[in-house]
Symmetry: C2
Subunit: 247 residues, 2 copies
């Protein structure tokens, strides 16, 4: 590869994790600019019109949306493939990715992780306890019931590792930062799936980095990441906090 | 084709329209079950876990999410292609589709069409006037500014017709039901693009049907559609209004 691609986004985001997992698994060299949406400057707004992360930059091409980016990486760098070959299974994999992006994003990230983690830590605001309780007691169990019914007795969703497995695990990993863990006695297939994905060398490399920076303030993350040997972009689009763009 | 595929969903929905447009353009025979999410019965919940439309059923395969469905139709029925061949352009097309699904869905459908149309007509509730005003005066113009800058001087976004054009036009078509029209003096490329898509024979066939049923109560739509010669599913998953699932 002539030039490394770059990724704008936080290691804590499940959407960013999906993209980094695809890059790692496909062996594509990349640099990262570790920002969160609420610290993006005007360049970030230009690169990401909805002020969302991740952003992928590959030469002249600037791409938004984790699902669009992962599919692009598959199209542009097809080996190893992370999408099932059969059109029906490929569609089912994309649906599980969409379900994770929207519904798990809502119940695991917004209603749990953001309330208990980011909101307190970054904005010094209290969690919405009623929202958290409802997510824990009703919404997340209902989502796990649905997902459990989609999985085979053992192994990855479609046999070979695919974007479906990476997506589901990425969201539960972020929920793990606020101590959420799937009850393996109630949802054994989902618990085993997340464990299997998180045991992949590529995911362990990312998890090691995540663990080292999860409580490091954003403005200090570049220094910590550089110490860890992570390849960083020369410039950052972080800086002037314009407005909250997390949601 | 041995057996027609079927689609669950309302002709008024931009998400359903994208799927019907792909089916029409690819010449795939289909039957429709014209329901809206808030009238779906328990079978609907089983087929669409987030109670969203459209649902595509192709033999044993049940698929949710309009983007997943359109991409499946492309993979399974590749001719004529509705996705650019170049991976970078294909990714850009998927991004514009995602931008339409999420952001135009928010500002054109939820904040405009739903408030001024469906909410009054179906639920006898008043529109949130402040929300409508902000959408009209700020959010929709900002989205059009962004989109105008993405378009070539003339023609479809990537030269040949693609999912990007179909997606963008589908959302503005639904906004048109509450008399919204793009100001061609301010956004000439976007206005011309929507006009060009809506002039396609496939889109005109759909628009003729839409115009005939847009003010017909859901429970009477099957009869009106049958009179128009539309192929309907034998059974319906409409029925018991469980809860509002529109948003």
């Amino acid at each position: 590869m002539a030039e490394a691609v770059s990724v704008i986004g936080s290691y804590i985001s499940p959407y960013v994790r999906k993209v980094l997992a695809c890059l790692e698994l496909k062996g594509i060299a990349y640099r990262i600019d570790p920002i969160a949406p609420f610290v993006g400057n005007e360049t970030f707004t230009r690169l990401s019109p909805l002020r969302r992360i991740p952003v992928l930059i590959d030469g002249e091409l600037v791409l938004n949306d984790s699902s669009v980016i992962c599919q692009y990486l598959e199209d542009r760098y097809p080996t190893p493939s992370l999408y099932p070959a059969d059109p029906g299974q490929r569609a089912r994999a994309r649906w599980l990715e969409e379900y994770a992006d929207t519904h798990l994003g809502d119940v695991l990230v917004w209603k749990l992780f953001f309330q208990l983690g980011a909101k307190r830590f970054l904005f010094r605001e209290e969690a919405d306890e009623a929202m958290v309780r409802r997510a824990r007691e009703e919404e997340i169990p209902a989502a796990l019931d649905y997902l459990e019914a989609q999985l085979p007795p053992t192994g990855f969703v479609f046999g070979e590792l695919s974007i479906a497995d990476l997506s589901l695990a990425s969201f539960f990993r972020t929920a793990g930062f606020v101590k959420y863990a799937i009850d393996a006695s109630r949802w054994p297939r989902m618990a085993a799936l997340v464990d299997a994905v998180m045991a992949l060398p590529a995911m362990r490399r990312l998890a090691d980095i995540e663990d080292r920076i999860v409580r490091v303030p954003l403005e200090q993350q570049r220094a910590v990441l550089a110490d860890l040997g992570v390849a960083l972009t020369a410039d950052t689009v972080g800086g002037a906090p314009a407005r909250r763009g997390f949601r």
